[in-house]
């Protein structure tokens, strides 16, 4: 209803009590490349899907950043906004280290960066940040995983996914949640990659037919006594190959089983017992009122 009247700037409320500019910014996050985070009692890991303008001609956009030896982030949405926040976070960590000679507790860093998000939602001359962050870290209270949102909200999670088609990853994470607690770091990374693969789209520029490759994803991990490590390219090839070969085995087994007993059609093509068609992340959640498609009409700026 009259959405256009209320969405021109960030200081205007709609009669329903909403601030559309902030919701549009959240929309930008949903269109960014998927990122997955998982943590257990000892470690936290991130996996993110890198987009590229053209898989053959351009590089993949960097979207996992090291903040400090104990903190890393993955960015979905406007990567350029993410880089600004990344610089801010790095500075906060360095300043804390300068004064206190100790690493900045992760929760404080995330709260500070969320406050920064919030300020941009309450000033007429500002624009909300178009990014969500997944932030992993390890401090005196153990490993952590946080998500921030352009609105200034932030949450702590055991496992979460954000970005395009992330619903499929979340489904995987919900299903496997109980496994994370007891698995080791390698297995945790594989879980993150499997979850990420759920959200691989079929857009040609994104990836190779809905598959992870060593080029189109990045992993970051951190834990007790293990400084943050960002893995790219050949460093994650092993993990990617491992999950693919496991899947093939599972598929083979499923196929064999299907042949044996005809009545149980497993339909396991690729991802075992998981939904094979990735659910499209709902894009019209905010467009419910009136549905004049303002969000859909917005031409996304360069996103990743």
């Amino acid at each position: 209803m009259f959405r256009n009247q209320y969405d021109t700037d960030v200081t205007t409320w709609s009669p329903q009590g909403r601030i559309f500019q902030v919701e549009y910014a959240m929309e930008a996050v949903k269109q960014g490349g998927c990122a997955v985070g998982i943590r257990n009692k000892t470690h936290a890991v991130l996996a993110a899907l890198k987009l590229s303008q053209d898989a053959d001609l351009s590089s993949y956009q960097k979207k996992v950043f090291k903040i400090d030896n104990h903190v890393g982030i993955a960015v979905s949405g406007l990567i350029a906004d993410g880089r600004i926040l990344c610089r801010y976070m790095r500075n906060e960590c360095l300043n804390h280290k300068f004064v206190y000679e100790s690493p900045l507790p992760v929760a404080r860093l995330v709260r500070d960066v969320a406050d920064r998000h919030q300020v941009a939602t309450a000033r007429s001359w500002k624009r909300p940040f178009g990014v969500g962050l997944l932030c992993i870290g390890h401090d005196q209270t153990g490993p952590h995983l946080f998500q921030t949102c352009p609105s200034g909200n932030y949450w702590e999670y055991y496992a979460i996914a954000m970005g395009a088609r992330s619903q499929a990853s979340k489904t995987y994470l919900e299903k496997k949640l109980d496994d994370f607690e007891k698995c080791d770091l390698d297995e945790l990374v594989k879980h993150a990659l499997r979850a990420l693969e759920e959200s691989c789209g079929t857009r040609k520029a994104d990836d190779k037919d809905g598959k992870l490759t060593k080029q189109n994803c990045t992993v970051a991990l951190v834990g007790e006594g293990k400084p943050l490590l960002v893995l790219d390219g050949d460093d994650i090839a092993e993990y990617v190959d491992a999950i693919h070969s496991e899947q093939e085995e599972a598929t083979g087994a499923a196929a064999a089983e299907a042949e044996m007993s005809i009545d149980t059609s497993q339909g396991g093509d690729g991802a075992g017992d998981l939904p094979s068609v990735p659910t499209q992340a709902p894009t019209t959640e905010t467009g419910a009122a009136g549905g004049d498609g303002q969000a859909e009409e917005q031409q996304p700026m360069e996103e990743g």
Partner: protein, 296 residues
């Protein structure tokens, strides 16, 4: 300004900032008050902790008095701290001396910062009270973040190093030597004791035992000889008492009213004021001139 609201200038600016705009100026600010309120020794140079406003013209900038501490006024003396098996001990007396006058006798110079840290100070008492406020703000911040993280002794030490160094950079030092002591409970291999010291210039160090001002001469030799990181609480307390006793015998700006503070895994405990047994009735003390009768 409303005339009757005008504060006497020594209150408005505080008596301890050098008040002179110029000696020659007629009716120099609070010339009269000073002789009553502030003890000005005949020759300031000869007296330690002399309470003398600077007469250096270079000290006056833009016709304004210089609002920097150039000498301390009410001072505390030595602070001692040692590590023992389960944590740390810290002790000092309760005197706030005004020059060599024993002016205030119940000054608490050891404060509890949080459950794992205490800070003790020698030097200017007012500056220490300011530092206490800084630390309290820091702990309020910890409380407000509400994330289960609290500052460790080493973090507080590092913070105080920056505070002290920054003030010396402004040529406006906080006139203290601080001792930070406590227990770090976050380590993987159990509780870890910490003792660190910062001077007014930002000079800092950590050690198994620390003593400021006179304590560095009188108590640390004892600590070097008898302190061990694995000593029991009883041993540590008696070593500390011995060190305090020696200090009290030899340091004229000390009183026999001490506090002893302890930090271990259980938390912080600061004792009530106590006195030590002392012995003065040595023969030589009773008639000090007995062996120095003189020549006539």
């Amino acid at each position: 300004m409303i005339p009757h609201c005008q504060l006497p200038s020594h209150i408005a600016t505080g008596p301890h900032v050098s008040p002179f705009v110029s000696h020659n100026e007629a009716g120099a600010p609070y010339g009269d008050h000073r002789s009553e309120d502030v003890h000005v020794p005949a020759n300031p140079a000869s007296v330690p902790f002399a309470v003398a406003p600077s007469t250096d013209k270079g000290e006056v900038a833009m016709g304004e008095p210089r609002k920097h501490t150039t000498t301390p006024y009410v001072t505390g003396n030595s602070v001692l701290a040692i590590k023992y098996k389960d944590g740390v001990l810290m002790a000092c007396d309760m005197l706030g001396a005004y020059g060599s006058t024993k002016r205030y006798k119940s000054v608490q110079r050891i404060i509890r910062v949080n459950d794992t840290t205490i800070v003790g100070a020698s030097g200017e008492i007012s500056d220490f009270q300011y530092i206490s406020n800084l630390l309290e703000e820091l702990m309020t911040q910890d409380f407000c973040y509400d994330d289960g993280c609290t500052m460790t002794p080493s973090e507080i030490h590092a913070y105080l190093c920056r505070v002290m160094y920054n003030r010396r950079n402004k040529m406006d030092p906080l006139w203290n030597s601080l001792v930070v002591a406590g227990v770090d409970k976050n380590g993987k291999e159990g509780n870890k004791s910490f003792i660190g010291s910062v001077g007014m210039l930002g000079t800092s160090y950590t050690d198994s035992h620390v003593a400021t001002s006179f304590g560095n001469y009188l108590s640390r030799p004892l600590f070097r000889e008898f302190q061990r990181d694995d000593m029991s609480l009883e041993e540590a307390v008696s070593l500390m008492q011995e060190a305090l006793r020696v200090l009290f015998y030899r340091d004229k700006t000390s009183i026999n009213k001490f506090v002893l503070a302890k930090v271990d895994g259980e938390g912080v405990a600061i004792s009530k004021p106590f006195a030590l047994d002392t012995k003065w009735d040595f023969k030589a003390f009773m008639n000090p001139s007995k062996h120095a009768v003189g020549s006539w």
